[in-house]
């Protein structure tokens, strides 16, 4: 894809204190948009196939490719200061840390009991504080309740 350089290249090396932004061509931006739309169609299409536990990974992978395209070209990170890119990536690293530590905490504090829909303390076996009171069972276990989910009309 062609890139325009309205400012001659020697301007970049010559620091006159002015702002000399890299200007990408309009066609280039349209190309990125086309790629983003194709990836959107792809992510909807693959959602009709079952990859089991990989479903979420496939969806997140495509979303991350799209996010990278937006950040790199629409948000100009490609031509921006490296420190801004680091700031951006650091926010995702800290988010990953946040989610991982929360998972870890959950695994060590109490165990989730699906039958009772509440968390149970690992040491005492009693219901952990917080969350909804026990209100669950699967549809088949409810006497007199209508048939289970995904019932055809």
């Amino acid at each position: 894809m062609a890139l325009e350089h309205p400012h001659a290249d020697h301007h970049d090396s010559l620091d006159d204190g002015g702002v000399h932004a890299h200007v990408s061509s309009a066609q280039f931006y349209w190309g990125i948009f086309a790629a983003l739309v194709l990836l959107t169609i792809a992510t909807v299409k693959v959602s009709y196939y079952d990859f089991g536990s990989l479903n979420i990974l496939v969806a997140l992978l495509i979303a991350s490719i799209k996010a990278t395209l937006v950040a790199t070209f629409f948000m100009h990170l490609r031509y921006d200061s490296l420190f801004n890119t680091l700031t951006f990536i650091a926010s995702f690293l800290f988010l990953a840390l946040f989610i991982l530590l929360t998972y870890d905490d959950l695994g060590h504090r109490a165990k989730y009991d699906v039958d009772y829909g509440s968390s149970v303390m690992l040491r005492t076996g009693q219901a952990a504080p917080g969350g909804m009171p026990a209100t669950t069972a699967t549809a088949n276990e409810v006497p007199g309740a209508p048939p289970g989910p995904a019932e055809k009309k």
């Binding site: 309205p6 006159d16 204190g17 002015g18 702002v19 990408s24 931006y29 349209w30 990125i32 948009f33 983003l36 959107t40 992510t43 909807v44 959602s47 009709y48 196939y49 079952d50 479903n55 979420i56 969806a59 997140l60 495509i62 979303a63 996010a67 937006v70 950040a71 629409f74 948000m75 100009h76 200061s81 420190f83 801004n84 700031t87 951006f88 926010s91 995702f92 988010l95 946040f98 989610i99 929360t102 998972y103 699906v114 009772y116 829909g117 909804m132 009171p133 209100t135 669950t136 069972a137 276990e141 409810v142 006497p143 007199g144 309740a145 209508p146 289970g148 989910p149 995904a150 019932e151």
Partner: protein, 269 residues
């Protein structure tokens, strides 16, 4: 953001060392001022990602705890509407990027046109969102409507209809679960677990906070548009156009993750 009302005028004598109107006195050069503004914006974007991060963390945890319920509940979201909104936002991101490009080249009218298109796309996004929300509220999927906290819903009778959904009560050792009967986007009757409340709660809060960002982004872009029409920007100074567009791209980025996580993830049927 530069104080554009301050009219210092050209204070320097040499052409290269001229002090333009848009340059605030505490910066040496426009380049330094631009770099500082960009760094500030990126730091702000990092805090925004961390703010949404709290909700993404809640989503990750509750999804891991209750995969079947999330799977079942996500069939109540319309993939076509979600995908249309994704394309609308991606297109608005394109026009925002083109607005910055025009500003970089000093094409004032072109910048205005692209900004107007971006704002119109934001309106289109909100209109589609309105139809999605009103359908879900009609179905009674709003927290507290069909889904009540068990501690507060003692007065609901078995088989009572709330909106178009039906609360069904059954006796189990675990208490009195209230199942919610409603028709999903594929036209099937689903018997939703009371814990689907968590999915719809996250859906409304995550898309709601995103919607607030859409409205804020529209306001920012409108302000940039007004300043652009007033002729405050030039090839040398287009920082607000650039930063406004960066905010708009952030709104797009968040939606790029929200769309698959809420609408697409789950077992296809």
């Amino acid at each position: 953001m530069a104080n554009v009302t301050e009219t210092v005028g050209v204070t320097g004598h040499g052409g290269a060392h001229a002090h333009p109107d848009f340059l605030q006195h505490h910066f040496d050069t426009p380049k330094q001022q631009f770099a500082a503004a960009k760094l500030g914006m990126w730091l702000f974007i990092a805090t925004e990602i961390l703010m949404f991060g709290g909700l993404f963390c809640a989503y990750a945890i509750w999804r891991a705890l209750d995969p079947e319920v999330f799977d079942q509940a996500h069939h109540f979201l319309n993939k076509i509407m979600g995908a249309s909104n994704t394309v609308v936002l991606l297109f608005s991101s394109l026009t925002a990027a083109l607005a910055v490009r025009s500003a970089q080249l000093g094409k004032r009218n072109q910048t205005s046109i692209y900004l107007v298109v971006t704002i119109l796309c934001a309106c289109a996004f909100l209109v589609i969102k309105y139809f999605e929300y009103s359908h879900k509220i009609h179905l009674g999927l709003l927290p507290g409507h069909c889904f009540g906290h068990p501690g507060f819903s003692g007065s609901i009778q078995n088989g009572e209809e709330v909106g178009t959904c039906l609360r069904v009560r059954g006796d189990t050792p675990a208490g009195n679960p209230e199942w919610v009967r409603a028709v999903d986007e594929d036209g099937r009757i689903q018997l939703l677990s009371p814990r689907a409340n968590m999915f719809f709660g996250l859906y409304f809060i995550m898309t709601g906070l995103h919607g607030v960002h859409v409205i804020i982004g529209m306001s920012i872009l409108t302000w940039v548009l007004v300043k652009n029409i007033q002729g405050k920007f030039s090839k040398e100074y287009f920082t607000p156009v650039d930063l406004g567009a960066l905010y708009w791209h952030l709104v797009d980025l968040v939606w790029i993750y929200l769309f698959p996580l809420l609408y697409l993830v789950g077992k296809p049927e």
